[in-house]
Amino acid sequence: MTDPVPAGVTRQGKVAAQRLEGSTADAWIRRVCAAVTAARLNAYYPDVQRMRSHMEAMTSDVHRGLYAGVDVDPRSCLPTYREWVRVRTDGEVALKELPRLPSEWELAEKAKHNPEAIHGRLMLKRAYYQDLVKRPLAPLGEAEARLRKVDPSSRTAWFLVVMDKLEANGLYSRYSVALSQQSSLWRRPLVQLDSEQAEATSELRAVVFRMATFGAEATFAQLASLGDLSVESVVRGTIGPFAAPEISLPGDIKASGGGPDGCRAALHGVVADRPDVIAGAFTLDMAACDLSADRDNDPFEDPLAAALSPAARTEWERGREGLGYHVFRDRKFAVSRGLEDAVGALCAARGTRNVINGF
């Protein structure tokens, strides 16, 4: 049994968030967005434009000071789940509320004498909502299935299921699952085919949800065990963790650990005491049948592999051979100028050579 209280979680069962306010919050969000852009992420990672747009909506330039600040998850150095949902909820409510709000001119007239009062606030809200309804926002757990091809002779359809998810550990990931399914087995289809559109059923989505924190390989194995479908690859592209000097490291996260916690602690060591910098990690975790061999270029050990006993590891590897897939793991970094060497040294010390983009 694992430790009942995971790292970064209080004994009261709550993720301990850190509050950033005003210009400090804005500056931090801008740095995270800049790092995400500098990372030059491919389609296996969450949509960068949507993520940036969603995060920018948390700055006072967009919300016009209607919110005092942002709660940050210190484990990932990204906004907490509550903040991501807040923007999403505001966007949904904005669509309904905008037609009900008085015109900009009317509000400006009424707010003229007392901009601090309600009409001044409604004017700001109107501007915020107008901005928000035009913004693409990041999906927080939606799955979409795209039909790749259909072979009528074998009654087989090939799909790509893509799911962007804000993970429970505060990281933001995209799961890309390539799979095929025979229609004669669609008594309980995991992917429903509707002409050229395909929709992932709740069951498939739930599997990805359940297995998310364990990574691509565990998700591959779980999906393969469901039957009725043939899994070709599972790729997880993860944005984060980040480290910035204004976000303190939770006391129970140790630099010696693997996975995101180990990475977070190591990057924190690089940025600590250096104002206005940021360092971000971007992991690619892949389990695919078309890989010729296993390869691991992640300086931080896979937490699932680390948790396995020797006996369980042997069992796991036997399963891997049976399903015929290999695993590839890599991690790239985007860091403020001047931090490249420190991060490079950190990777070298762990025996890997990684892409490090300075900006």
Binding site: P4, G13, K14, V85, R86, T89, G141, S202, R205, A206
Partner: protein, 357 residues
């Protein structure tokens, strides 16, 4: 007439605000009343919105309570997975889910996002109430300005009337002092008639300004009542939104913790905490919505009733005023006709009637 008396009659009286007449007063009162009707209409719309929110919230709370009840220790004896399957069967769309503890995160997220939206909608509702109250307060300020203007004008009209009345008394004394039928008496009478016209004009103004002051004050009372109603509602809803928001914040932190916990007993404990926090949050808002529902039902209907009674009273006052004005005018016309008839009986022309009118 002395130069001083002439000056009194010629002196323009500087009334503040818009010009006044029976029609202008009527239109201005109607305008203010229309504004009040708009606000009452808005309150009625808000009441309908309240009903919608209440229904949605009642459904959320029912669902959350059911979930929470099932998670509570006494009902989990059948086994963790078996019970959770039953729990999740209450959530549409995931009935056939293969259950492990990590599915709970998905369930809670769905519920959290719905709950967050409800609280946000309630906060929007409070903002709309605040805006409606602010507009009414502005309207009350405008009515107050007009009440003060009317009171000042009433005072000016009364002072001027006293001055003109003094001139009138002297003019009447001059008529009495002249020989009947002489040119001098006709000249003095012409002065009396001229002064009477000034008196009639300003006595009408005095009456209209006094009426305006009274009617605007009563109109203001109606607006104050609506504004107070709205202010109470929005204060209540703000308190509830803050309380519900705090509970939801707690739930958000717990949902993330559940996602990272791998141990079943921890997950069940956190699930219970999270569901309870969300239930408490929804309860806060639902309690508000139910209470406002009663408040809306009672207060707005009473208010509308009172405003309608007020309208009746206003109409009566206006009709009495108009009837009184007509009576005065009729009397004056009758007097003029009487003078004309008298002149005719004595063998003279009807010219005197024009001077009297």
């Amino acid at each position: 007439m002395t130069q001083e008396q002439e000056k009194v009659l010629e002196r323009p009286v500087e009334y503040t605000g818009e010009g006044i007449s029976v029609r202008a007063l009527e239109e201005s009162i109607s305008d203010a009343r229309r504004q009040q009707d708009v606000k009452v209409g808005e309150l009625r719309q808000l009441r309908e919105r309240n009903v919608e929110i209440q229904k949605a919230m009642a459904e959320e709370v029912r669902k959350l309570r059911k979930l929470s009840d099932y998670v509570s220790a006494g009902r989990l004896k059948g086994g963790f997975v078996a019970n959770l399957k039953e729990i999740l069967s209450y959530i549409p769309g995931i009935r056939r889910l293969s259950i492990t503890q990590r599915s709970i995160e998905e369930l809670l997220r769905q519920q959290y996002e719905i709950s967050a939206r409800r609280v946000k909608e309630a906060a929007e509702f409070a903002d709309r109430l605040t805006a409606a109250e602010s507009q009414l307060r502005d309207e009350i300020d405008r009515l107050n300005e007009r009440i003060i203007d009317s009171a000042k004008n009433e005072e000016r009209a009364a002072n001027y009337l006293l001055e003109v009345n003094a001139v009138f008394q002297e003019a009447q004394a001059r008529v009495a002092a002249q020989e009947t039928g002489s040119v001098a008496v006709r000249e003095a009478q012409a002065e009396v008639d001229r002064i009477k016209r000034v008196l009639a004009d300003h006595s009408m103004r005095l009456q209209l300004y006094a009426t305006a002051e009274d009617r605007l004050s009563r109109l203001k009372e109606g607006s104050v009542r609506i504004a107070e109603t709205i202010a109470n509602l929005q204060t209540d809803i703000r308190q509830y939104v803050v309380a519900a928001g705090e509970k939801l914040d707690l739930a958000a932190g717990q949902i993330q913790a559940i996602g990272t916990a791998a141990d079943a007993s921890v997950v069940v404990l956190e699930l219970k905490r999270s569901l309870d926090a969300m239930t408490a949050s929804m309860n806060e808002t639902t309690r508000f919505v139910s209470e406002t529902q009663i408040y809306f039902r009672k207060t707005i209907d009473d208010l509308v009733g009172e405003l309608e009674i007020y309208d009746d009273q206003t109409r009566k006052v206006l009709e009495t005023n108009l009837a009184a004005s007509r009576e005065i005018e009729d009397r004056r016309i009758a007097e003029a006709v009487q003078t004309a008839l008298q002149r005719k009986a004595e063998g003279g022309g009807p010219e005197g009637a024009g001077a009297a009118g």
